[in-house]
């Protein structure tokens, strides 16, 4: 009898906990927060960018990590590599009206309109004279866009790099319909009835901070590739709430980086897809927040000592669970010429994943000798962070490691987000913790890791100056063939590991948990799973 009762109870538990609903053509997913704007020229955060990419289609699109044709059926690149001529397919907006090359020219010029002050304007600066026009120093006709005819568009870029086409896949280069954009002004993209797209999905309803419903766009040029009839986004759902909503069949998909959450769903039989989405750093301000701290932080041996004192494995086991200790800058998922970058470009000296106290102290002694200083002259350093529990525990661990191994004292300076950024801009920090995107193409992309140490960039924030490194970055970004680019990336990585301009800690892995039956075909390191192209298992 007892056995029977146990069996019934066990079966009941199983029925209650297993993902109950079968996959269908509607997918409900957890959105961490509300989109701030669905205007491609203003869409800045991940939750806005995701939706813009479902609602619109640019000239090209990145699917499964590869650049594929979008509205441009084909293109030719000039011999010099800086002019690209796109041949557009005959396609329509989601309301059925035709879309042509002039629509793209209007949208691209709107992005950099000097009067509008669009937040994403800088994305357009890869095009000839776009930045000058935005700054009021060039006429609109000087900008490198030309509609040759209704279905031919010529774009002249500033450089001839491989990057150009990938940059055009960015959401900022998605089309907006002139009549609607001009009638709505700044309110474009702020509501369901205040936008019009040409992408795989179209907006059915948008209840702000609550629920967004997207339905398949039957006028999309590639509609046969879309299986999802409806996508329902539940806003402000993350962490515990997302787990419980998955368990109670309210949602089908959610993303997590914290194992506290995704392991529960793993145990319950949900499917999982993982990808590396950011590098986690503690940045070093080599100018220091004052002359005294800058004197030490600008010394390469001092920085090497700091890096060697950090036990990255211990951090992953305690305060950064679910992440991977970084032994080099380029993550294991990054593509190389044919296979993985890390296999094709091995490095001799990797970043230490466990602490090496003796070596750290040797480098510290060397630094002190070079600086003519003693240990008791080392000042207290300031560690700036956005005030979250995760950041605080991470910095407390590093603070303890630096004190224990090297006797270096640090004070943690937690700040609200805008105040933290203000401190970064005014160079009021010695260390600053944060994540950094992997980069559109790779670490050398303008939004990639290496670009943050570009000495030619007036907005580079960390005070690192290395002419060889800067030249390599330039080479990578200008290269028109992949090998030249990746060779430069590999050389930059070696300098990076050797000179420790920043303290790289881990690669952060994102876990997309999904109800069995849905197949995620494409993920983007920045925005996560591409839900418009989710397939249903037959």
């Amino acid at each position: 009898m007892k056995k029977l009762v146990s069996l019934i109870l066990a079966l009941a538990m199983l029925v209650l906990t297993l993902p109950a609903l079968a996959a269908g053509t509607t997918l409900t997913w957890a959105r961490g927060y509300e989109s701030t704007s669905l205007d491609p020229a203003e869409s800045a955060d991940d939750e806005s960018n995701n939706i813009v990419s479902y609602l619109t289609e640019g000239l090209v699109r990145i699917l499964e990590g590869t650049l594929v044709p979008g509205i441009a059926e084909s293109w030719e690149i000039s011999d010099a590599g800086d002019v690209c001529t796109f041949h557009l397919r005959q396609s329509t907006w989601s309301d059925g009206t035709p879309l042509n090359a002039q629509d793209f020219v209007y949208s691209f010029m709107r992005l950099i309109d000097p009067e509008a002050g669009h937040s994403q304007a800088a994305t357009g600066f890869c095009v000839l004279n776009a930045e000058a026009y935005n700054q009021g120093q060039a006429a609109p006709e000087d900008v490198g866009y030309r509609a040759v005819d209704d279905y031919t568009l010529e774009v002249t870029f500033v450089s001839s790099g491989l990057e150009n086409l990938y940059l055009l896949a960015d959401n900022a280069f998605r089309p907006v319909k002139k009549e609607l954009a001009e009638s709505l002004g700044e309110t474009y993209g702020s509501d369901a009835d205040k936008l019009l797209g040409n992408g795989p999905m179209k907006m059915e309803s948008w209840l702000h901070e609550s629920q967004m419903v997207l339905v398949k766009n039957e006028n999309y040029w590639n509609r046969d590739a879309i299986q999802m009839e409806k996508l329902v986004g539940m806003c402000n759902v993350s962490g515990d709430t997302a787990v419980e909503m998955m368990m109670t069949d309210m949602i089908d998909l959610a993303s997590f980086s914290d194992p506290t959450y995704y392991t529960q769903l793993q145990d319950l039989g949900f499917d999982e897809m993982t990808y590396t989405n950011t590098d986690q750093f503690i940045h070093i301000n080599q100018n220091g927040r004052n002359e005294e701290t800058g004197r030490f932080l600008s010394n390469v041996n001092f920085r090497r000592a700091l890096s060697l004192a950090i036990d990255r494995t211990a951090m992953v086991n305690t305060v950064m669970q679910g992440q991977t200790p970084a032994n080099r800058v380029i993550d294991p998922d990054a593509a190389g010429l044919e296979g993985r970058f890390v296999d094709e470009y091995p490095v001799e000296n990797t970043i230490n994943v466990t602490a090496e106290p003796e070596k750290a102290r040797e480098y510290l002694a060397l630094a002190l000798e070079e600086l003519g200083a003693t240990e008791d002259q080392i000042p207290e350093f300031s560690m700036l962070c956005y005030d979250t529990q995760g950041n605080l525990t991470k910095l407390q661990a590093v603070q303890d490691m630096l004190l224990t191994v090297l006797g270096i004292r640090c004070a943690i300076d937690p700040q609200p987000i805008q105040q933290m950024i203000a401190k970064v801009y005014s160079s009021d920090f010695d260390f600053w913790t944060g994540g950094m995107a992997i980069g559109t193409v790779d670490a050398a992309s303008p939004d990639g890791v290496f670009a943050n140490w570009d000495v030619n960039d007036p907005d580079a924030l960390f005070g690192y100056g290395n002419a060889e490194y800067a030249a390599l970055l330039d080479t990578a970004q200008q290269a028109s063939d992949l090998k030249t680019r990746l060779d430069a990336v590999a050389a930059m990585e070696k300098i990076f590991i050797d000179e420790v301009p920043t303290l790289l800690l881990t690669w952060q892995t994102q876990h997309v948990m999904v109800r069995p039956g849905y197949v995620i075909t494409s993920v983007d390191a920045s925005f996560g799973a591409d839900l418009a192209f989710v397939q249903v298992q037959p």
């Binding site: 701030t36 704007s37 800045a44 937040s119 702000h208 609550s210 309210m250 805008q418």
Partner: protein, 304 residues
């Protein structure tokens, strides 16, 4: 009575004006800038500042803002591009108000009932049990009790949905959690007010005349105990109806509560100002109504 009301209205207007002025300058004193972003070049940030008029002197910004305010224009949010502050209030306040109203009615009824019971059974077991409940209600924050009951009723028992808004069953748990603190406060206040009334001569007289205990409570004790309770009602209504960041977050409710917090952390100046003025005005109006009601219930207050 008319003079009393006019005086109160004038004080209310002055309060809102002072609140708007102080909030404007305090928000400008916060370090940082809403457009500072390490991913956006400084030249583009300057364009954005100019677009929102934040490149002008603070006093000029203040005069423009107050001029617009007089015309009922609260400006446009910086974070939610293209959305006016009024749009945001119009969309989210009804949700918070609906939740708050349910919580308030529930809390008032239960709180008063518990307070009466505590006073009637003073220093006996019902008093102790209900006071323990009241203390727990105050001591346990909604960030603890919310996830607990969500897990119990939403995940384990599956009686109620874990989150969301719109259906009656989605309102029960958040209203309970939001009302819990108010129940506790009301229980304690009502108990104290009742105890003060119970010892009055007219209550003793009523009892001596042989009036039934229930009639004594309803006719004499309750009516007179409610007068001091009115004083708390204005701020309580304003507080509960404006939404709760924590409860809305736990139960995924699209209310106004989160905007109070997020507006400050992202330095969305128009939203900070708009929400403060809206909340302040609402609070002042509620207090004004309570003052008028109080003056009507107890004429001695008007004379003072």
């Amino acid at each position: 009575m008319v003079r009393y009301v006019l005086k109160r209205v004038l004080i209310a207007l002055l309060t809102v004006f002072t609140l708007a002025t102080v909030t404007f300058f305090l928000s400008k004193l916060l370090p940082g800038d809403p457009f500072m972003n390490e991913k956006i070049p400084t030249s583009v940030q300057e364009k954005q500042r100019a677009y929102y008029g934040l490149d002008r002197p603070v006093t000029e910004q203040y005069l423009i803002y107050m001029g617009n305010l007089v015309q009922g224009d609260l400006g446009t949010s910086i974070k939610y591009v293209g959305r006016s502050v009024w749009d945001i209030i119009r969309e989210f306040f009804p949700v918070s108000a609906q939740l708050g109203l349910i919580a308030l009615v529930f809390a008032e009824i239960v709180g008063l009932l518990f307070g009466i019971l505590c006073a009637q059974y003073r220093n006996r077991w019902p008093d102790y049990v209900l006071m323990v409940f009241a203390i727990l209600g105050i001591a346990l924050p909604s960030m603890v009790i919310g996830p607990l009951i969500r897990y119990l009723f939403g995940v384990q028992l599956r009686w109620l949905p874990v989150g969301g808004w719109g259906k009656p069953e989605q309102m029960l748990m958040p209203a309970f959690v939001l009302g819990l603190g108010t129940i506790a406060g009301n229980t304690r206040s009502m108990r104290a007010c009742m105890l003060a009334v119970i010892t009055q001569d007219y209550v003793k007289t009523a009892r001596a005349k042989g009036m039934s205990p229930l009639r004594v409570v309803m006719k004499h004790e309750l009516k007179n105990s409610l007068v001091p309770m009115l004083a708390n009602l204005g701020p309580m209504i304003a507080g509960v109806l404006m939404g709760s960041f924590v409860v809305e977050q736990i139960f995924v409710i699209p209310g106004l509560g989160k905007h109070f917090v997020n507006a400050v952390s992202t330095l969305d100046y128009p939203l900070i100002m708009g929400l403060t003025i809206f909340y302040g005005t609402f609070l002042v109006v509620m207090n004004l109504l309570v003052d008028i009601l109080y003056g009507w219930v107890d004429p001695r207050i008007r004379v003072k």
